[in-house]
């Protein structure tokens, strides 16, 4: 187990290191950061002085090393647009995205696991078809369209929920549904197939033969077994959500990291963009690491190989 852990950890560090290079080059190969920072009406002399101050006249590898060193010290640079340290800006925006992600995954789990179990209990019936149909249909609706539909129904027609901003808990309901919905088809399908396998397994048959109540067999014996792969899928889906929240946050004007990223791209606020790219990639890498370790802990066969 220890060897497996160490190897996966090294791999994660390596992955994050390479993504940091990608994040840095994506932003820096993209034209002239000094010109973007100096603003539209800047004279060539102004641009030159910005270039000197921020070290943009140095070779890129040198700039990268300097940037990385500062990142290790917790200094992500300064947002030239917001005139604040990037670390501070991120600390202001991160809680909203984390809340949104947690609520969205909670919604996804509460919707998809019962649906998946129902579909597996009554395979090839109307219930199963409805659940699978919901998953297939849901995957076809783009997130921004689904978000606008939610706004139209609950915000405009019924007027029961706020549609913009992040003032209260109610502001998170629609965004969490819109974001969480995208994780439901995958979780539901995996729950369904896991339950189908589990229900036919020997230990469930034995439990039934013992005369245990049906719900107990289903929840305690079958579902527990079926949940093993689902748990790590949930971790990976949470990673996807961090990257995908950009669309949802923009539609609902939730001032989280995704919205910040979108605004920063339009403002050419490169220090913010590269910090967000790096952090989201690192969060995703850590979540997949967690999923792998969890799987390895549950299923010893994964550790070898």
């Amino acid at each position: 187990m220890l060897r497996f852990l160490v190897r996966r950890l090294l791999m994660t560090v390596l992955v994050v290191a390479v993504t940091s290079v990608v994040a840095f080059s994506l932003v820096h190969l993209s034209g002239d950061p000094a010109a973007a920072m100096a603003g539209e009406g800047a004279s060539p002399a102004d641009v030159e002085s910005v270039r000197k101050t921020y070290g943009f006249d140095r070779p890129l590898p040198e700039q990268y090393v300097t940037w990385l060193k500062r990142v290790f010290e917790g200094d992500f640079g300064r947002s030239h647009y917001l005139r604040a340290s990037v670390a501070q800006v991120l600390a202001d925006h991160a809680p909203i995205t984390i809340t949104l992600g947690a609520l969205a995954i909670a919604f996804a789990v509460l919707l998809s696991i019962p649906l998946g179990v129902l579909a597996a209990l009554y395979p090839n019936t109307l219930v199963d078809r409805l659940a699978v149909g919901l998953a297939v249909g849901g995957q076809a609706v783009p997130s921004f369209l689904f978000a606008l539909l939610l706004i139209y129904i609950f915000g405009v027609t019924l007027r029961v929920l706020p549609i913009s901003g992040s003032g209260s808990w109610a502001h998170f309901v629609l965004p969490a549904i819109a974001l969480g919905y995208y994780a439901t088809p995958a979780i539901m399908r995996l729950t369904r197939s896991g339950m189908l396998d589990a229900l036919q397994s020997d230990h469930v048959r034995t439990a039934r033969a013992y005369g245990l109540p049906a719900w107990r067999v289903i929840i305690k014996h079958a579902l527990r077994h079926a949940m093993i792969p689902v748990v790590s899928l949930i971790a990976v889906q949470l990673g996807f959500m961090l990257g995908g929240s950009i669309v949802i946050e923009t539609v609902f004007a939730l001032k989280g990291v995704g919205y910040l990223a979108w605004q920063s791209i339009q403002r050419s606020d490169i220090e913010v963009i590269q910090a967000i790219l790096l952090l989201i990639a690192a969060a995703y890498a850590l979540l997949t690491l967690a999923a792998d370790v969890l799987n390895g802990a549950i299923d010893p066969r994964i550790r070898v190989g």
Binding site: L14, T19, V141, P142, L148, I265, I280, A281
Partner: protein
């Protein structure tokens, strides 16, 4: 197949090739019929639509801004689907959007398919260090958030069609690589590959003549998934204002431009939104049917 030719004619028909079986199964599949019909209609609309409705999708008719569609009380056949804020004909923009969606979708899948299959086959066939390196590349690709990276690149290089195709194509190859890698690993130990190696076939011959034809089933399935993915991604990028740029039209862009009309003119979102959902749904249905058709004989 020379065995078939040598057989006497009165013997019952020889077993059909796996491809023919899969095709027959596919054509009888309900999902394929529904999805295929919708997909066919959208492709047809994209190809001949702009001919049949030759209004310029970019020309602004400022006297008829925000015209209502023909089915509402004040609608006219002058603009069957109404017009947008700038008085551009909604039907013409819709048809151009179909072309944009399909062009971006099919070309990105072609690009990502070639990249992903190349990497996946190389990793699966050669194994060892090459496999480790390519696996690492796949992990890196999965770690990068697709929407965010695409937004950054498009913000830099602009939202021209070729840029969008290259960016999306370079981002969506991972599933092709993962699937072809494991399929190749399974095939590499099969007799027909080992015999080809034994008679001294060149590596390109083994890969292209022996291996690749056996990957077509899984490849087509992944291609449908990524086609839907690419269409959704283009729509999302255009919706965020960093995809297809006006005056060119795109369904995602049309939704974005009509966003502020949600309260009073919801049809302006429904009109581009419906074909977008229909297109992705149709692609998914066709993909599911193909998966059923090729998986049932155990070759997937």
């Amino acid at each position: 197949m020379s065995v078939t030719a040598a057989m006497p004619t009165d013997v019952p028909r020889a077993p059909q090739s796996p491809g023919a079986v899969a095709l027959r199964r596919l054509l009888r599949h309900g999902n394929f019929r529904i999805g295929g019909t919708i997909l066919g209609l959208i492709i047809l609309a994209a190809i001949v639509g702009p001919w049949l409705w030759p209004l310029d999708p970019a020309s602004q008719d400022l006297g008829h801004r925000l015209a209502v569609p023909v089915w509402s009380a004040k609608g006219t056949w002058l603009h069957p689907f109404g017009t947008d804020q700038l008085g551009r004909d909604y039907l013409a923009r819709l048809l151009q959007g179909a072309r944009v969606s399909l062009t971006i979708g099919f070309l990105t899948v072609l690009l990502s398919g070639v990249i992903g299959t190349g990497l996946g086959v190389a990793a699966g066939y050669f194994g060892g260090r090459i496999d480790v390196a390519i696996n690492f590349l796949i992990t890196i690709r999965l770690t990068l958030p697709v929407v965010l990276v695409a937004l950054v690149v498009v913000a830099v290089y602009g939202g021209s069609l070729p840029t969008l195709i290259v960016v999306i194509g370079l981002l969506l190859w991972d599933r092709f690589a993962v699937v072809t890698r494991s399929a190749t690993q399974q095939l590499a130990s099969r007799d027909f590959i080992i015999s080809a190696q034994a008679i001294g076939s060149s590596i390109p011959r083994i890969l292209f003549v022996e291996l690749l034809p056996n990957l077509i089933g899984p490849l087509v399935v992944v291609a449908t998934i990524e086609l839907a993915h690419a269409v959704l991604l283009e729509a999302a990028l255009s919706f965020l204002g960093l995809g297809v740029k006006p005056p060119l039209s795109s369904w995602g862009l049309m939704v974005a431009e009509a966003k502020n009309q949600l309260l009073f003119r919801p049809w302006m979102i429904a009109i581009p939104g419906t074909p977008l959902v229909a297109l992705v749904l149709a692609i998914n249905l066709v993909g599911d049917a193909i998966r059923d058709a090729v998986a049932a004989d155990g070759r997937a």
